[in-house]
Symmetry: C2
């Protein structure tokens, strides 16, 4: 297992971690000033500044992307919604390419309307079928521009509103279905928070293997957890066996970045610089 | 699929559903007055009145049990805690027998100390091993008195503090390991709330089959869900495909009760009689 403590160039900051403190340009400056080598920005943060401006800023500072968040949300209540999702994913793929991201992370979506509290269908089997077909459709464009798609399994507590891929096993199942030749066009974004509980975690990490493990995200599961979305913990503050998990990921061949992604009202309320300093400290000691 | 609308004798009230409104004797009276045929009481509710008194009350009213909640919590930080858990499960088995329950429901436990917010271990693999050994040890006594044990998979959002059995697949895996002869001594308590999201749900229900499906609990998954423990919905108010799920369970051979179990601050704040009336109405129309 790699000793990362002296390798900040392999630490990635998912910029949602400090989304409430600052705009993306300030986040990039603060990260670069600390030697953090990578970022994973969200589309809304990029749009707020402008894609071209962010692309220039990234080139000028030398920071690179470990991923781009996010594509997905493929499900819909009708043909119009399904087509709009495909259009949006096409744009996300092009943006990821413009930012020279190594992959586009997919939060695949689930019951149409559920995210706004008004589900228009409760058929999760249909949602899974729409997701499969949506990824298949996106893959054509993704292949043509050379942008790998990384399916992110989400915790089952988000199965209604955000993603109907909820075990690690489902992601390589989709990869086997849609990219049986393992061309590298389709893989998995593994987030410790979403999968740490999975009884098949070790076996499915091994199965995904080096060609399909495209991203590795970490934070921690707090006990108690007080909110289903925004109460994630800083690595080391919870119960996820992060070193053990990274050893599994690296044993399967992954040699990429370790990305810290925390959605937390508590951490969003603290100064940007303090949060980054704690992220670096925990990356060196815990991750 | 059975038409249950005229069969209140197959409706079971899990008495936690109205635990904040009344003591167990009042709950039983209100359920019996409405023709509800079955209850599944919790140990603390029974202890508050006294086991013998509850057993007499049950005999006098003619209500029967669909299960008894709960055994389990097999994990421990040391040998003393592990032994105490086995003793407690022995008592739970005896209580279930005294109340003529058809099974004892097991919430198996997970990281020691996590339930009180102070995890003493983060090794979920060890927890799973302790649970396996604990159930194996309990089985001896359970067999000797004829009390089937029903392993309840809990939603992964409760994997740290309440149960490290989090997919339906894990439960029949344990059954195959500990009761390969399918003697009926060990089975599964299937709760719609905990497993509705599981991509292998249909296949694993079929696998468990009639001999091992010992209980069927329902409530609903609300969108949004505002609390990890106490924001469950009344059947029909959420996104679980309850009729489809019951059709799967019955196709696998289950012909037992449909038990309504709701942990909800919202429903706990309403009058006992109103909640039971809504349960009956939803049982007839939704379940």
């Amino acid at each position: 297992m790699r000793d990362l403590s002296q390798h900040l160039e392999l630490l990635s900051l998912n910029t949602a971690t400090v989304r409430k403190q600052a705009s993306l340009d300030r986040i990039i400056e603060a990260a670069v000033a600390r030697g953090i080598g990578l970022i994973d920005p969200w589309r809304d943060q990029v749009h707020a500044i402008g894609l071209d401006k962010v692309a220039r800023h990234i080139r000028d500072t030398g920071v690179r992307l470990s991923g781009y968040c996010r594509g997905g949300f493929y499900t819909g209540a009708n043909a119009k919604e399904l087509a709009a999702a495909l259009d949006d994913n096409r744009r996300a793929i092009d943006e990821a390419k413009a930012l020279d991201s190594p992959c586009l992370v997919l939060v695949v979506g689930s019951l149409p309307g559920a995210l706004s509290g008004k589900p228009q269908s409760i058929d999760i089997t249909l949602a899974r079928s729409q997701v499969r077909d949506g990824i298949a459709a996106s893959l054509d464009h993704a292949r043509s521009v050379g942008m790998p798609l990384a399916i992110e399994p989400l915790h089952p507590m988000q199965a209604a509103d955000r993603a109907c891929v909820n075990t690690l096993e489902q992601a390589p199942d989709l990869c086997d279905d849609l990219d049986p030749g393992r061309t590298g066009a389709l893989g998995v974004a593994l987030d410790a928070y979403h999968v740490w509980w999975d009884p098949k975690l070790a076996a499915q990490i091994q199965r995904a293997g080096v060609g399909r493990l495209l991203a590795y995200h970490i934070c921690d599961w707090l006990v108690p957890t007080r909110d289903l979305l925004n109460d994630r913990g800083m690595p080391g503050d919870g119960v996820i066996e992060l070193k053990k998990l990274r050893s599994l990921v690296e044993a399967a061949g992954y040699q990429g970045a370790v990305e810290i992604e925390i959605f937390s009202e508590a951490w969003w309320s603290r100064p940007l610089e303090d949060v980054l300093d704690v992220c670096i400290s925990r990356y060196k000691s815990i991750a």
